[in-house]
């Protein structure tokens, strides 16, 4: 169980190193997803299973989908299909797949190994965390909701199309 932590951290560091050295944004997104999955496995080993699930769902799921969406939107045009053919080349997804297979082997090992938090002192259960979150930390929930609402309104305002046209007409 201790080795799982170190192997996962090596995978995380290697894939993060690949993120900042790739030239195509889609390639580094693949490595970034692998890095987030590795960090999620580290959370699981450290006795935070709920946070590990949140990391996969929110970071590797929602935020990375946003990135992919924007990258695909920016590459509209005739050369997009040819570019996509170049992206889906075996030489580029070989690396992320190997790292992800290492993570898969680690995850199967952890799930077969009995209690998840053996490498840390004690597993902090989701129930315990929720009691703390909605008890003494209730203000944090309110602040997060206000922050997310502000982010929603800001993103909607910034990405609106008609303000874009108005500004282009003015300038």
């Amino acid at each position: 169980m201790i080795a799982v932590f170190y192997i996962a951290s090596v995978v995380a560091i290697v894939s993060t190193l690949m993120v900042i050295t790739r030239m195509q944004p889609v390639h580094s997104l693949l490595y970034l997803i692998v890095s987030l999955l590795a960090v999620s496995l580290m959370f699981f080993v450290l006795g935070a299973p709920f946070i590990a699930a949140l990391e996969v769902i929110v970071y590797a799921g929602a935020i990375m989908v946003l990135f992919v969406f924007v990258i695909m939107m920016l590459n509209l045009g005739r050369e997009a299909a040819e570019q996509e053919r170049r992206w889906i080349d075996i030489s580029m997804w070989k690396g992320p797949v190997i790292l992800a297979l290492v993570l898969l082997a680690l995850m199967i090992h952890v799930l077969h190994g009995g209690n998840p938090g053996a490498a840390s002192g004690r597993v902090v259960s989701p129930k315990e965390m929720s009691i703390a979150l909605f008890g003494p930390y209730l203000m944090v929930v309110e602040l997060a909701s206000i922050l997310l609402l502000a982010g929603l309104v800001g993103a909607y305002h910034l990405a609106r199309r008609d303000t874009d046209n108005k500004e282009q007409k003015r300038s």
Binding site: P25, L54, Y59, L74, G121, A144, L148, D164
Partner: protein
């Protein structure tokens, strides 16, 4: 501490990830890469919190991670909307193009 992983090792991993994100942020000039590196840095900060939570066996660190998570979600939504506006105006993703202001 009952656990077998020393707290220092977890913090070292978090620091290395944070440093990689910082280096990427300083080196790369593509806005999408800069946003990705900010995500890496936020994630490394969250890892440090989880390591601390595992060390003291309290749920407080995990709650701090939830704050970081919602901050990252809001930040990436606004940031990617800005990237779309930037691209529609300048037709490029180079951050150095936008270094002059028109008041």
């Amino acid at each position: 501490m009952i656990g077998a992983i020393p707290m220092t090792h977890g913090l070292i991993v978090a620091a290395v990830l944070f440093a990689l994100g910082l280096v990427g942020l300083l080196v790369r000039r593509n806005i999408i890469y800069m946003l990705m590196c900010i995500e890496i840095m936020l994630n490394a900060a969250g890892l440090a919190f989880i390591v601390a939570a595992s060390r003291w066996e309290q749920p407080d660190g995990q709650i701090m991670f939830i704050i970081i998570l919602s901050t990252a979600a809001a930040e990436v939504a606004v940031g990617l909307a800005l990237v779309l506006r930037f691209y529609s105006r300048f037709k490029t993703l180079d951050a150095d193009i936008a270094n002059d202001m028109r008041g």
